[in-house]
Amino acid sequence: MKAPDFEYVRVQSLAAALGQLGAGDDVSLLAGGQSLMASLNLRLSSPRRLIDISRIPEMAGIRLGSSSMSIGALTKHCEIESAPLVRQHLPLLAMAAPHIAHPAIRNRGTIGGSLALADPAAEWPACCLALDAVIEVASLRGVRRLAARDFFLGLYTTALESDEIITSVEFPVPSKGSRSGFSELARRHGDYAMVGLAAQGQWIAGRCMALKLVFFSVSDRPVLAHKAASLLISGEGLKAAQDALQQDIDFSGDDVCSSATRLHLAKVLLERVMIEMENHEVLLQGEGQAA
């Protein structure tokens, strides 16, 4: 189908975008457009006005600080996928990126757009939870910094107010000895995951000392599997952790996948990702250069 009629305005700065957003209701922000355009063409949304923020230079780019990396909201999936800085310091993001849709979509879709949409099957929200990211949002009222765990509230629902724009995401750079794992199952490469898992952990002397397991496409939002992670840290073993997933997650069922199938697939992914993390040290910083 074709998109309904709407007004269109392209802004060149964050200040101009915030001004537009504050000026009236029934407006949508257009960043990469890879979900919004589909939704317009399907007439699932019909805003009165689109504010095109895709060309605001100050909102794009990857910057490494002393202990964290900041990724501008308008940074495209393909830029995160190919950035050496990301591969070196935040390998989880580099592992997740190729799973996002298809190359032509990754060439335009943005990380800020993905977080704002909060699709429960999306990769970036899960990675943000696993990495303890902080999402920075701006409005005419000021700037707020929201922890990822407080940001995703439900199906396509976030803590973002209607006058706010995500400006950047800040990821603490994991320390030496950190390991990342990522996997998802889809019927076809690039399709929405039936179940996915983003994992970030800390190994010292071959022992797992800290672990975050974030499952996505299992419920109305990405979910931290606390109990399964704590069982793995305390050495109870994979089987115990797999059995605990049912307590950690209220698996949803739909016409793609029943809740029982999702639970089964989550167990499969947990095993795969844990084997990967146990066996493959992810090269970080100095270790990467030494190898």
Partner: protein, 170 residues
């Protein structure tokens, strides 16, 4: 008032470069890039399929990278360099890929072919020697309902090898 407003929905002036030619047009905001290319510029090589980014038939190049023509507004292409299958064909840079598609029967109805070629062009630029699995992953966003993909993978694989051999000689 509302009827008038709908009819007089403002046109946006865009200036872009399409297949090497500077173009200035007046477009409605709601028109996506692929409708603009096909209907305003009569570049019918790219196809309109699903219009929600799934099938890949409308894949074109914008500023040197493959994008879905249905997931970008024409007004957003203001100032951009757009290349369609017509431009890629005239440039001659993918004639080997096109010949391989023909000789390996990598198309039947041809609906997916323009988008498939644009996707494979980018794959071979960014990864000149892809494995068959990598080729399959790259074209996973381009539906072909005729060939079963095997022949397309064969053609891309063959061109990658031939280009490598050529590079080795020169």
């Amino acid at each position: 008032m509302s009827a008038t407003a709908r009819i007089s929905s403002p046109l946006h002036t865009i200036a872009l470069n399409v297949n090497g030619t500077a173009v200035t047009s007046h477009v409605k905001a709601r028109v996506h890039l692929i409708d603009y290319l096909r209907e305003d510029l009569q570049l019918n090589g790219s196809h309109v399929g699903c219009e929600h980014g799934v099938c890949g038939a409308c894949t074109v190049r914008v500023d040197g990278v493959a994008v879905r023509g249905c997931l970008m507004l024409a007004v957003q292409a203001d100032g951009c360099h757009v290349e369609t299958i017509e431009g890629l064909t005239e440039g001659g840079t993918i004639s080997d890929l096109q010949e391989a598609f023909v000789s390996r029967n990598s198309l039947q109805c041809g609906f997916c072919t323009a988008g498939m070629l644009v996707t494979c062009t980018e794959l071979l630029e960014t990864n000149p020697q892809p494995s068959r699995e990598e080729i399959r992953a790259a074209i996973s966003g381009n539906y072909c309902r005729c060939t079963g993909y095997q022949a397309i993978v064969d053609a891309v694989d063959r061109v990658a090898r031939e280009r490598k051999a050529k590079r080795g000689v020169s």
